[in-house]
């Protein structure tokens, strides 16, 4: 791809970008949100048209004007949200649109279909029942099915957008071995990820995009983490994490043998001004615990005390009134009302305080929104922009602003920096720090261990719905936490 240009009204999304991919290579594409990675991939996939530039495959210029054209050339894209039909079987999905038919009648040859699908999965080194329904598979298995589907179309170029975001460490290892196999078969792989350590693990070359421009392309071996971040952000980040300045005070939230869906008698104490991390593997029950504290899911046993008083809440509405807030994982699905503006999303949980008679006081609502937009540096700074036009990091700030305006005493963050680029991550950490400084008790759920180690006073570790340990201090290692996260409770 050479000299690729894409102009949107008011933004030059891609400015003469060049990108090349060799057969049997894993080429990582990195950059902050808004750098142009997704736009570039959409052009390659034929989903949007470029304004200028040349795309050539094996030396010959090609015209990719539709997704079908991309498919014919052998380009496959695996998006973050998979394009699979949940109610259909694995085999049906893999061969969707390419179903083998019987010799005499135009009927689908089911046997051939399962054979072909099974062979493709085995080629990836995976055993998945070809007659299982997609809806019964884990996220990791669905991803393998997506890859098999791409293979069935004889891909030579496979692009993967944040493939590891929903996976556990073990599943990531499996995915990487699949990628290595594809590489050995001569498939060129474009790998997009925010997790920098993966790039050093799996990548051959890396291209950094910033503000729609190609900043550099070089072999992974010539870079270290720090240099890579510098290329991405455009400046030297002194530290990845801000220094913790908050001092924990009195106990504010106390859980005593809390039970619920997936939870086994969790006892925990959070102090005001404290940042408490919650580590564990996906499925360990961390989000479930957060939802129970927030009243989003029912608690079946145990006690929750807030400021020393028994808390009886059965809905988020009551939790917010009590002073508890939750920034959910997957902010697009559970956090924001997409078609509403930044202003409306910020004021949503505190409208009661913005009333003048029966009506919402528009000027006060605007001044609140504007204050938070300034304070949290929400970009663009237009409080009447729909949140669907904002990048991931800015959306997260909008949700945060909403909760800050509710005067919560306990704030729970569920994966606060998932899908957010390095520069904005630092801002979010600083904000968490400042909240703690102001005496708020903060609970942070994260699958990013260095992040927890970098910003928390203490880290509680969960495994299979139970608390397996609490660690603190500067000398804790990732290995210690992983041991706790995988240690089954003997019952």
């Amino acid at each position: 791809m050479q000299g690729i240009v894409k102009q949107y009204p008011g933004v030059l999304a891609l400015d003469k970008v060049r990108f090349s991919l060799n057969a049997g290579e894993v080429h990582c594409l990195v950059g902050e949100n808004g750098a142009g990675k997704s736009t570039l991939m959409k052009i390659l996939a034929g989903a949007i048209a470029r304004d200028a530039g040349v795309i050539s495959v094996e030396g010959a210029a090609v015209e990719i004007d539709s997704p079908a054209a991309a498919q014919r050339i052998g380009i496959g894209i695996i998006y973050q949200d998979f394009k699979l039909v949940p109610a259909m079987s694995v085999a049906e999905n893999i061969l969707l649109g390419n179903e083998p038919t019987t010799n005499f009648f135009p009927f689908i040859d089911r046997r051939a279909m399962h054979q072909t699908a099974g062979a493709l999965l085995r080629q990836l080194g995976e055993e998945i029942d070809t007659s299982a329904l997609i809806s019964d598979l884990s996220v990791a298995q669905r991803q393998i099915v997506e890859i098999a589907k791409a293979l069935s179309r004889k891909v030579r170029i496979l692009a993967m957008d944040e493939p590891t975001a929903p996976l556990t460490d073990h599943e990531i290892a499996t995915l990487f071995s699949v990628i290595r196999r594809l590489k050995a078969d001569g498939v060129g792989i474009i790998y997009i990820s925010h997790r920098l350590e993966e790039i050093f693990d799996i990548g051959d070359r890396v291209t950094v995009l910033r503000d729609g421009k190609t900043i550099t392309t070089c072999p992974v071996g010539e870079l270290d983490r720090r240099a890579l971040i510098k290329w991405m952000v455009g400046r030297d980040l002194e530290n990845e994490y801000p220094r913790i300045v908050a001092r924990p005070g009195e106990e504010i939230l106390r859980l005593e043998e809390v039970e619920g869906k997936k939870l086994k008698r969790v006892s925990l104490s959070l102090r005001s001004g404290e940042i408490l991390g919650l580590a564990g593997l996906v499925g360990a029950g961390r989000s479930e615990l957060a939802r129970i504290i927030f009243g989003a899911d029912p608690r079946t046993g145990g006690r929750i005390l807030l400021g020393g008083k028994d808390l009886h809440i059965t809905s988020p509405h009551e939790a917010i009134n009590a002073g508890i807030a939750l920034l959910t994982e997957d902010r697009n699905r559970y956090g924001l009302i997409m078609q509403m503006s930044v202003r409306e999303n910020i004021s949503l949980s505190s409208l009661r305080s913005l009333l003048k008679g029966p009506f919402i006081d528009r000027s006060r609502e605007e001044s609140v929104a504007r204050r938070f937009a300034d304070e949290l540096r929400i970009r663009p700074p237009d409080i009447n922009a729909a949140v669907e036009t904002l990048s991931g990091g800015n959306r997260q700030k909008v949700v945060l602003a909403r909760w800050l305006n509710t005067k919560a005493q306990v704030l729970i963050f569920d994966e606060p920096t998932a899908g957010i680029d390095v520069g904005v991550k630092y801002e979010i950490y600083t904000l968490i720090n400042r909240l703690a400084e102001n005496g708020i008790g903060v609970l942070v759920i994260s699958s990013d261990l260095p992040e927890l180690l970098g910003i928390c006073h203490r880290i509680a570790v969960m495994c299979e719905g139970a608390l397996t340990g609490i660690v603190s201090g500067g000398d804790v290692t990732q290995e210690q936490i992983m041991t706790l996260a995988t240690s089954r409770q003997e019952q």
Binding site: Y8, P9, N33, G34, R352, L355, N384, A386, T389, R402
Partner: protein, 321 residues
């Protein structure tokens, strides 16, 4: 990098504006084709004809904004009219009977809505099914209660509500205007209005933002039921009788008005002003075609085509902006 940079404010103005333009064209066309069309008498007549369904459409807009639907409105119209006329006929002095009749009918409408809302929220049954069931239950009840016969022999004064005028304006038109002003203010400026949009936009996110979403849902169905009952009383008064088959297929006219007005059936997007113009556009069309002596059979075809056209234009404009 984001592909779309349209502002919601502008797009919603465009949605209102687009249908408004179509409406102006329509009025101009009929004014040219029929000399009688653009006279005060006829225009007031159109507003009177539109008022019954338009009042219901205001309530339906709230329901559809939450992503729901209410099919029971036509049957509520019938049963509310029957309840009102029954109260009038009890022989209680009229000065007392009229407010009582209104109260009973509107309480029934609110009850019907609360019932629908509770079934939808407590048992997670889709609004389509719950209100479809209520539609036949209330319709059947109306026939059972009246034994299939209309309720006649009402005092002449009862018809004032539907046929009377204040300062030359038909009373139903005045009621309609009041309903629309209140609905518009409620939707755009109150907390409840904001919650309606939030629930329709993303119900789970709304719940996690502390909105009592079940309560909001019950409230919108209560509102729709209440306004349908109000319309039912006005209609009974205009006919000066309680008819068990009143309001049949009103739900379709009402939904058409809301959708032509630019409100998304998926919820979260739409305006009261849009619904008002949608209701007027359809009423003007019917009236204009009548004046031009187009047969009622042909009218149905034309109305259907116009609904498709209006919604298609709306889609095209939204996707091009």
């Amino acid at each position: 990098m984001t592909a779309t940079r349209l502002k919601p404010g502008i797009s919603s103005i465009a949605a209102r504006f687009g249908i408004g333009v179509a409406f102006v064209f329509e009025v101009a066309a009929f004014a040219l084709l029929s000399p009688y069309f653009f006279t005060p008498d006829n225009l007031l007549n159109v507003s009177l004809q539109a008022s019954i369904t338009a009042i219901i459409a205001a309530g339906m807009t709230f329901v559809i904004l939450t992503g729901g639907i209410d099919l029971s409105v036509g049957s509520v119209v019938a049963l509310a009219g029957i309840l009102a006329t029954s109260v009038i006929r009890t022989g209680v002095p009229f000065a007392l009977a009229l407010p009582l009749a209104l109260l009973v009918s509107i309480l029934f409408g609110a009850f019907s809505g609360a019932f629908a809302g509770l079934f939808i929220t407590r048992f997670s049954i889709t609004p389509f099914i719950v209100t479809l069931a209520l539609m036949t239950i209330w319709r059947g009840s109306a026939f059972v209660y009246t034994e299939g016969r209309p309720i006649w022999e009402l005092p002449e004064s009862f018809s004032t509500l539907g046929s009377g005028r204040i300062l030359a304006l038909p009373i139903p038109t005045i009621v309609m205007i009041i309903v629309y002003v209140i609905s518009h203010l409620t939707l755009t400026r109150t907390r409840f209005g904001r919650y309606v949009y939030a629930v329709g936009g993303n119900i789970e996110a709304a719940r996690l933002a502390g909105i009592r979403t079940n309560r909001v849902l019950v409230e919108v169905y209560v509102l729709a039921g209440l306004l349908s009952a109000l319309s039912g009383v006005l209609l009974a008064s205009r006919m000066n009788s309680g008819q068990p088959n009143a309001g049949i297929s009103y739900e379709l006219d009402v939904i058409a008005a809301v959708v032509v007005g630019g409100t998304s059936l998926a919820g979260g997007k739409g305006t009261i002003i849009g619904t008002f113009i949608g209701a007027m556009l359809i009423a003007v069309l019917r009236n204009g075609l009548n004046l031009l002596n187009v047969s009622s059979y042909v009218q149905q075809v034309v109305v259907g085509a116009v609904i498709l056209l209006a919604v298609m234009m709306d889609r095209l404009r939204k996707s091009s902006s």
